[in-house]
């Protein structure tokens, strides 16, 4: 029983991180049609933010703010420098652009910071576990779940109860009409990137808290997971991204925990096989994006 509850907590916490990542991709995709493979590098930047902030003993809460700020700044920078000039490119052109941006950023990290990993020590309070009576649950998984819930809730409030959030949802349906309302396109796009930066920053904190170090290539794995999760959920839909993230997290933990040892090496293949099965049954993803887009 305890084993089962622990695995369940693991699945929720991992799924939550994937959901944040997939959401970061979906927010941008829904508005500009860009699958941003440089999203992983936003996480790396946030990771370096944590590293430097903790390095100068700023304390964890401030370090997290620094990390998020770093990711937002980088998101806005790449939007302005790389993606805005390409806005007329098609989905594939934008995807290629983001590959190029991602590669360039990695080289810059390797040479500007270090090709080697950097330690990010976390307060020892995070390394403990809490005895809930029926199960021991690690602080970090619990923190992941809380942070995910807070971020998702915050994003929901932002999208529902602010003008620019409402405009972002509208822009996902019909960007031209949003502009007709006098709402500047560039600002909506920039805010979408900033939001994806915030999500990347939060995810990066959880990711780094788990792995303990940052290195220039650390963004690659999470962005792939985010991509898969976003596809499962239905590319471009925000609800779908969250659902896709949790489905992927549950699948991975379930396979890791319950597959017999002989098949375990094929875990990732197994997970992707189930993903394909989901897509065969629902080609548009679990919760397809609603778009009323017109040319």
């Amino acid at each position: 029983m305890e084993f089962f509850i622990q695995q369940l907590v693991n699945a929720i916490s991992l799924g939550g991180i994937y959901a944040l990542l997939a959401l970061g991709l979906a927010v941008v995709f829904s508005i500009v049609g860009l699958i941003n493979f440089a999203h992983g590098e936003l996480m790396t930047v946030a990771g370096y933010g944590l590293f430097f902030a903790i390095g100068v003993s700023l304390g964890l809460p401030i370090a997290i703010v620094v990390a998020i700020f770093a990711a937002v700044a980088m998101a806005l920078l790449i939007e302005r420098v790389a993606f805005r000039p390409m806005r007329r490119a098609d989905v594939t052109g934008l995807l290629l652009t983001s590959f190029a941006v991602s590669v360039i950023l990695r080289v810059l990290f390797q040479n500007g910071i270090s090709a080697r990993g950097m330690p990010v020590p976390m307060p020892s309070a995070l390394a403990g576990s809490i005895d809930l009576g029926f199960a021991h649950i690690g602080v970090i998984p619990l923190l992941s779940i809380v942070a995910t819930a807070v971020s998702l809730g915050g994003l929901l409030l932002f999208l529902k109860h602010t003008v620019v959030g409402t405009a972002m949802r509208a822009a996902a349906q019909d960007f031209a009409v949003v502009r007709l309302m006098g709402i500047p396109a560039n600002r909506v796009v920039a805010v979408a990137f900033a939001v994806s930066g915030v999500l990347a920053g939060v995810a990066a904190f959880l990711w780094v808290a788990q792995r303990g170090s940052v290195d220039p290539l650390m963004g690659f794995v999470p962005v792939l997971k985010a991509f898969v999760a976003a596809i499962i959920g239905g590319l471009g839909g925000l609800a779908g991204a969250v659902a896709g993230g949790f489905v992927l997290g549950f699948l991975e933990v379930a396979c890791q925990a319950f597959l017999p040892a002989a098949i375990l090496p094929y875990r990732d293949a197994f997970v992707l096989g189930i993903v394909i099965l989901i897509l065969v049954l629902r080609p548009e993803g679990l919760i397809p994006a609603q778009t009323g887009k017109r040319s």
């Binding site: 003008v163 405009a167 509208a170 349906q173 502009r179 007709l180 006098g182 709402i183 609603q290």
Partner: protein
């Protein structure tokens, strides 16, 4: 108020509007008539900044050519696009909010919204519903109300009667006539010439991207040439 000279709008290879000259004076309802494909919608898109236009569009002595749609909106011009294009997944309330979001400071947004709900009682009933669930007529009301939220001085209306039942069409036209009473200048694009000319001060007839006929509303309504423009009769 609005004066258009030599307006051309081009989509790729096709020149949809081939040099239009017309004016709209403060407080008027002016209608652009013509068959499908005559270039009416393209003209409105050109004025609102949605389509690349050349020539001269002077609004209160400022040239609008080259401005972005958002800049034009902030100069108090609103376009209610063809096919309504409400945001289906947003509620009526949210649709209205976006219409006026960039045009108000402080509490005036709430006041304007209250006016809209009074003007369109049906929207008050549907206030928390998603716009996609509204009927065609209700969506048209919402689209117009959303445009009015920005308190425009010039309202561009594109085919407001399209796809609506006759009874609803009456209501829409009555409403448009009422708006003029409130001091809003209106440029109306309409296929339903009889209805449009009934409420318009003046009208222009477009054929193939050019103006072939213009005149006072009621006079034009009597003209055989309007019929000719539509039916080659």
């Amino acid at each position: 108020m609005l004066s258009v000279e030599g307006l051309k709008v081009r989509y790729g290879q096709i020149e949809a509007v081939k040099g239009l000259d017309f004016t709209v004076a403060q407080g008027e309802i002016v209608t652009l008539l013509g068959a499908n494909g005559a270039g009416k919608t393209s003209t409105l898109a050109g004025i609102a900044g949605l389509a690349p236009a050349t020539g001269m569009i002077r609004f209160e002595n400022q040239n609008l050519i080259g401005l972005r749609p958002e800049d034009i909106s902030r100069r108090s011009i609103a376009l209610t696009p063809e096919g309504r294009r409400v945001f289906p997944a947003l509620t009526v309330a949210e649709n209205l909010l976006l219409g006026g979001a960039m045009h108000h400071k402080g509490g005036s947004l709430d006041a304007t919204r209250e006016e809209m709900l009074t003007l369109f009682p049906i929207l008050r009933e549907r206030y928390r519903q998603r716009a996609g669930l509204l009927s065609g007529g209700e969506q048209q009301m919402l689209a117009i109300a959303r445009s009015l939220m920005s308190q425009p001085r010039l309202l561009l209306l594109d085919e407001p009667s399209l796809g609506l039942a006759p009874k609803i069409v009456d209501e829409v036209f009555r409403l448009i006539a009422g708006l003029r009473q409130k001091g809003i200048t209106i440029l109306l694009v309409e296929q339903n010439a009889v209805r449009a000319l009934d409420i318009a001060d003046r009208g222009y007839v477009l054929v193939n991207g050019r103006i072939t006929l213009q005149g006072k509303g009621r006079e034009l309504a009597q003209s055989d040439e309007v019929r000719a423009a539509y039916l080659a009769a």
